[in-house]
């Protein structure tokens, strides 16, 4: 088996006095789709935010695509990464946010073309062609010239997905991408992801509260609690025959709701 595309080794992360991860270890293989479920405050989103370089770490190492994410070699040892190193590492990663975070002052099309053009130096023509392709993929071909504030939540999130895909990341991070949506809009967003993984292989790490979706799409499900993986495995096993009491209690609470 090849080296994992993502590897956390003894990672420590605190917010002030609050310890999120004390000694966290985690691996994701290339083209693996991993869902992270668990109660809020368990460190699920923090995991994605650390990978996207939005949060630093307080100890340990993280490797992404064979290179250290938060450290770089310098004079024979590893030192904290500088902005140039982080810039290079971010090319592997793309993220879709819970609250979309679209750029409200740009049209939908420019939301998608801006980064490929400015960051990767893609020509305007190529970037716009790609944007049109991606907008068709997410079913919003007719919204290219709209502004984000004229879209529904579900439409905004589909633009958010298209925007992340435009940078062609090898790893896609989905941070509760349907949590801010009205229930009837959830499926239009999830369908985009369903179609996406049917057509291309992705390494995908998603934090979600949509249990049926996690079950259907994942290669592996990790149940998180208090900064640690309590239980992980194939979705069918986690959802039908969890071993740990905490997993059972969490899933029961969810099934009780729906």
């Amino acid at each position: 088996m090849s080296a994992p595309i993502i590897e956390f080794k003894n990672v420590k992360k605190c917010f002030g006095d609050t310890v999120i991860f004390s000694d966290f270890n985690f691996k994701v293989e290339e083209n693996e789709i991993v869902s992270i479920i668990g109660p809020s405050g368990s460190g699920k989103s923090t995991l994605l935010r650390i990978l996207m370089t939005l949060e630093g770490i307080d100890g340990g190492y993280i490797n992404v695509a064979g290179e250290s994410l938060w450290h770089m070699p310098w004079q024979g040892q590893y030192v904290p990464a500088n902005s140039k190193h982080l810039h290079k590492m971010r090319n592997h990663l793309g993220m879709v946010f819970q609250h979309f975070n679209l750029f409200p002052h740009m049209t939908v099309k420019r939301n998608i073309t801006e980064a490929p053009m400015r960051v990767k130096g893609v020509s305007r023509q190529d970037a716009e062609e790609l944007a049109e392709k991606l907008l068709a993929l997410v079913g919003l071909a007719d919204k290219a010239d709209s502004y984000p504030n004229d879209l529904s939540g579900g439409q905004k999130q589909r633009v958010g997905i298209a925007r992340a895909l435009a940078m062609k990341p090898s790893i896609l991070l989905l941070d509760e991408i349907t949590s801010a949506l009205d229930p009837e809009l959830v499926d239009e967003v999830l369908d985009v992801i369903r179609n996406l993984v049917k057509e291309e292989s992705f390494t995908m790490l998603l934090v979600t509260h949509e249990m049926y979706f996690a079950r259907e799409i994942s290669d592996r499900v990790c149940f998180f609690d208090k900064g640690a993986i309590v239980e992980e495995g194939e979705p069918e096993i986690i959802f039908t025959a969890p071993k740990e009491e905490r997993t059972k209690a969490f899933l029961n609470a969810y099934i009780g709701q729906s």
């Binding site: 996207m52 939005l54 810039h87 946010f97 975070n101 750029f103 980064a115």
Partner: protein
């Protein structure tokens, strides 16, 4: 004195006032952006310089600042003409308030915008100028409008360093003709019209800059 003559004398003063505003406003804007950004992003020593400038010019009287620049600096070998002193004093004074407008407006842009721009791998300067600043500018316009009007009104101080602005002309006219009602009536209208014209311009600017923003929901 004929009313027409009064208006024509005051008009000359008003032109001087407009000239001062036209020069002090760009200076204030530049100061506001430079020191506002330094205050937010520069290394500590530069930040300290910005804080000293902001606190000094906000914390002391604009009139005394004007006196210092015009009357006291010559004792240190720096002599500048009254017009330059007026523009510098008012520009620095209003600019010091402006730094806080710039800073507040940038900080008011939702954090998610910064995060999305990191996730898309924009460089630090692209994040600021392509994502944060266009949204912050819209936040800045209303308070900047207030400051611009403050500036128009503060120009009346320059009459005290021998500049023949609107207030200066009005006072000398009033001293010689004693037609205080007519004179200061016209002066009020002049200042009011200047402020209104400025406000009209600012509203247009705001409308132009807020394309796509401020419509519908808050989160985007």
């Amino acid at each position: 004195m004929e009313f027409g003559e009064i208006v024509s004398v005051l008009l000359q003063g008003a032109i001087v006032t407009i000239k001062i505003v036209a020069m002090a406003l760009p200076l204030a804007t530049i100061m506001a952006f430079v020191f506002g950004l330094v205050r937010l992003y520069a290394p500590a020593p530069f930040k300290q310089v910005a804080i000293v400038y902001i606190e000094f010019f906000r914390g002391t009287s604009a009139l005394i600042q004007l006196y210092w620049i015009y009357f006291v600096l010559p004792f240190f070998g720096i002599t500048i003409d009254a017009m330059t002193a007026a523009v510098v004093a008012l520009g620095l004074n209003i600019g010091s308030y402006g730094t806080e407008v710039v800073r507040g407006a940038i900080q008011a842009v939702p954090k998610g915008q910064y995060e999305a721009s990191v996730a898309l791998n924009f460089t630090a300067s692209q994040r600021l100028w392509r994502v944060i600043m266009p949204q912050a500018l819209v936040n800045m316009i209303p308070p900047f409008g207030n400051l611009a009007i403050e500036l128009v009104k503060a120009t009346s101080l320059v009459s005290l360093i021998t500049i023949g602005d609107l207030t200066f002309k009005a006072k000398s006219l009033a001293d010689t003709t004693l037609q205080v009602g007519e004179i200061f009536g016209v002066v009020l209208v002049f200042y009011f019209v200047m402020a209104q014209v400025l406000m009209l311009f600012i509203k247009r600017l705001e409308k132009y800059l807020s394309k796509g923003l401020g419509r519908g929901g808050f989160s985007s």
